[in-house]
């Protein structure tokens, strides 16, 4: 038939498109992540005395808690859809590379999480009376950079955890320690932007965030093929 298997990037896009099509049909993970995010934002709003801590001061902390745990909810489903009826075996016996599978899953997860944050961040601005101009755009950029790192690590551990009995527990246990350097840089950068400091002041933190993203993407992509060995 003269078949020529897709390369790494086109194979990755193929898998990402398939994952998003499944999510678009079912919408289960999207709604659970979104509902979690909105509920958490609401609950956090009522947990502090406004005369002591203003919503503006709370917002950065709330943002990262909500973002981290809604991301974990989304990442859980990434390989769960492959486990049902062993779709993953069809990917593994196909001629596409393991790297393409990892990248495809990561791209799908990133788009999924961006969609959740596209609702959660405006909701945060609304609840916590945040400025909706340039600071929010900069914070959205920081969130995106953090998401890249979180997805890079979370996709790898999602593949590892899915075959275990305690997958829901194992994914956060494995992932959260690796999220710390990403979240530290991102949270500090976002807090400064929310406080009205110039973007130039967070340049170093953004570079650090980009460096973590690159390291995690390559390290996790290399490690991924070993997680699939039986």
């Amino acid at each position: 038939m003269g078949a020529r298997p897709p390369g790494t990037l086109s194979g990755a896009l193929l898998i990402a498109r398939k994952d998003l099509a499944i999510e678009f049909r079912t919408r289960t993970a999207f709604f659970s992540s979104l509902v979690f995010a909105v509920l958490a934002l609401t609950i956090f709003y009522f947990t502090w005395d406004e005369s002591i801590v203003t919503p503006n001061d709370r917002a950065p902390g709330v943002l990262w808690v909500v973002l981290t745990f809604s991301a974990l909810l989304g990442l859980q489903r990434s390989f769960a859809i492959e486990e049902h009826d062993r779709g993953i075996d069809a990917l593994l016996v196909s001629p596409i590379s393991r790297e393409a599978i990892y990248l495809g899953k990561a791209i799908g997860n990133l788009i999924f999480l961006c969609a959740v944050q596209a609702v959660a961040i405006p909701a945060l601005a609304l609840f916590y009376n945040m400025p909706v101009g340039r600071p929010l755009v900069v914070v959205s950029g920081i969130v995106f950079l953090a998401m890249v790192g979180i997805v890079a690590v979370g996709t790898l551990f999602s593949a590892m955890a899915v075959n275990t009995r305690l997958a829901e527990l194992l994914l956060p246990m494995l992932s959260l320690p690796f999220f710390v350097p990403i979240l530290m840089s991102a949270a500090q950068a976002a807090a400064r932007v929310f406080a009205g400091r110039p973007v130039s002041e967070v340049g170093f933190l953004l570079k650090l965030l980009v460096a973590f993203d690159i390291v995690f993407i390559f390290a996790c992509m290399l490690a991924f093929s070993f997680t699939l060995e039986e």
């Binding site: 193929l14 099509a21 499944i22 859809i81 593994l92 016996v93």
Partner: protein, 235 residues
């Protein structure tokens, strides 16, 4: 090796183009493990597996020569039959994925349900879609693990026709089954696996089906008796 147990031991299997080996054996004989080894899903402790002279584990493109039909459907329930088969065609880089998907679904006589989500199909219809997915790229080697499971008479006939046409086209088949009659209908070689080893091999075209069936039954029952003796507690 699974822990200390040798699941498949010293198996030497060579298939020429157009050959079909039917692998028989009781549960736990190592048939599925052997298929997973050949497909590259499991890594052998020792030995090599080559398709067209290429190692599956070292050469990703060699995996494109293979089609696998497993116990599980390997389908995505939320996608339609066509989307599942077309996705597989794209994974293998088939030139016209949509046309190839249509052709594969027609070969398995399920083209009329192409637009139905897989989750809405019965077990037998899902099996037909799963077979269409496995052959959409016209593989040179097809590994089939109990492919007749869940199929009705029409599905079984479609599968037998499809296997015969794959063989006629030069594809090699490894068919794992418990059903001697079904296996011998399409096979050129018949092999019996016990305890991870191939203990008997015959030319399926010249074999007397009744004698083979009786011998096979005796071998399986003998193996079960020996296994139960090993686990029985002495008085």
């Amino acid at each position: 090796m699974f822990g200390r147990r040798r699941a498949v031991d010293a198996v030497d299997l060579t298939l020429a183009a157009g050959d079909c080996v039917a692998l028989f054996g009781p549960n736990g004989a190592g048939k599925t493990t052997l298929l997973r080894l050949i497909s590259g899903l499991l890594k052998p402790t020792k030995g090599t597996i080559r398709v067209g002279g290429q190692s599956l584990r070292d050469d990703a493109s060699a995996r494109g020569l293979l089609g696998l039909i497993s116990h599980q459907s390997m389908l995505y329930a939320a996608l339609t039959s066509r989307e599942n088969v077309e996705f597989a065609a794209r994974l293998y880089g088939v030139a016209d994925p949509r046309a190839a998907a249509t052709k594969a679904l027609e070969r398995m006589r399920i083209a009329d349900r192409a637009g139905a989500p897989v989750r809405s199909l019965s077990r037998g219809l899902q099996q037909r879609v799963s077979i269409a997915r496995a052959i959409v790229h016209d593989p040179r080697v097809v590994l089939l693990d109990e492919p007749y499971t869940g199929l009705d008479a029409a599905g079984g006939a479609a599968l037998t026709d499809m296997l015969s046409s794959l063989r006629a086209g030069g594809a090699s088949l490894v068919l794992v089954t418990h059903n001697v009659e079904e296996g011998l209908a399409v096979a050129t070689q018949a092999a019996v696996m016990l305890g991870g080893r191939i203990v008997r091999r015959d030319d399926a075209r010249t074999i007397d089906q009744r004698i083979f069936q009786n011998d096979y039954r005796a071998m399986v029952l003998g193996a079960i008796d020996r296994a139960s003796e090993r686990v029985s507690v002495p008085a």
